[in-house]
Structures are given as structure tokens and as C-alpha cells.
Symmetry: C2
Subunit: 81 residues, 2 copies
């Protein structure tokens, strides 16, 4: 099974990478860029045929490694069964 | 207009972050994880009402800053007009 895990900054948490990217784009002449935010996506190939168990496992992975609960939200979706 | 730019490693290019994440997940007990790959996503708020122009601008941004043409592919999609 293939899962996609999106790691997104919570609202109100500053995104320095996004802010710097915006600045750099503006400096390069892209004046119409008003905001940039960044998202990290992990595509995970799992040996697990049960969909619910796979999502539950991915949730555990987020808690233990992939996301920082203080600043991140995460969204898990199944890409292929 | 809000655009999403996905930066993905080309086929055959190694993904050290993905590989390390897989290793770490395996070590944490997630033995069913067979592969992990990483994707970077930029959400860009543009002051541009013309869809085609916006996508063209985003393409230029990828060429000039966001992506490395040697190792990356990029995909641009319009989220909100």
C-alpha cells in the first residue's frame, strides 16, 4: 500500500523557509508573489494490505518521527491499495 | 491566485532524506515500511488574475529558484483563482 503523508505548519506558526523563498522570488523580479508557504510530503510504501491499519501505522509514524506536534499538522491519504 | 508547485526528484536520482527516514522508521519498529520518498511543495499566493500567465510565472520561478533541473521535476497546479 502506498500512503502520502503531508506535514503542514499549524496556523500562526512562522514558516521561515517560505518567507525566505518569497523574499528571494521578489528579488528575482517576481513582484506579484505575495506569500509562499512550504509543505513537506512523504510517500511511504507499506507492506500492509489492511487500509485502516496502514493509516493507523502512518499516524504513529507522524507522532514518533515525521511531525512535531507543537508546530505541525499532518494529513494521511492512501494513494494505492 | 493560489498555486501549488510540487518539486519531485527525477527517476533514478537518489533521495537521501527519504532513505534516512525509511531507516529511522524501521529502527523505530515500523518494519513494514519498504520505501520512503520525499516531495517538497510550495504554495504560492500570486497577484495575477490570468491563469495562464500565473502558471507561466510559476514555471519561471521553478527554473530560476525553486527547482534544480538536473535532479528535479516540477508540477504546477492552480488551487484557487
Amino acid at each position: 500500500m502506498k500512503l502520502e503523508v503531508k506535514i503542514i505548519l499549524k496556523k500562526g506558526i512562522s514558516d521561515p523557509e517560505g518567507a525566505q523563498t518569497k523574499k528571494a522570488l521578489n528579488l528575482l523580479g517576481f513582484k506579484s508573489v505575495k506569500d509562499v508557504s512550504t509543505i513537506k510530503v512523504f510517500k511511504i510504501q507499506l507492506e500492509q494490505s489492511d487500509k485502516e491499519k496502514a493509516v493507523e501505522e502512518a499516524r504513529e509514524m507522524c507522532k514518533k518521527l515525521l511531525a512535531n506536534p507543537v508546530i505541525h499538522e499532518y494529513f494521511i491519504s492512501v494513494l494505492e491499495e
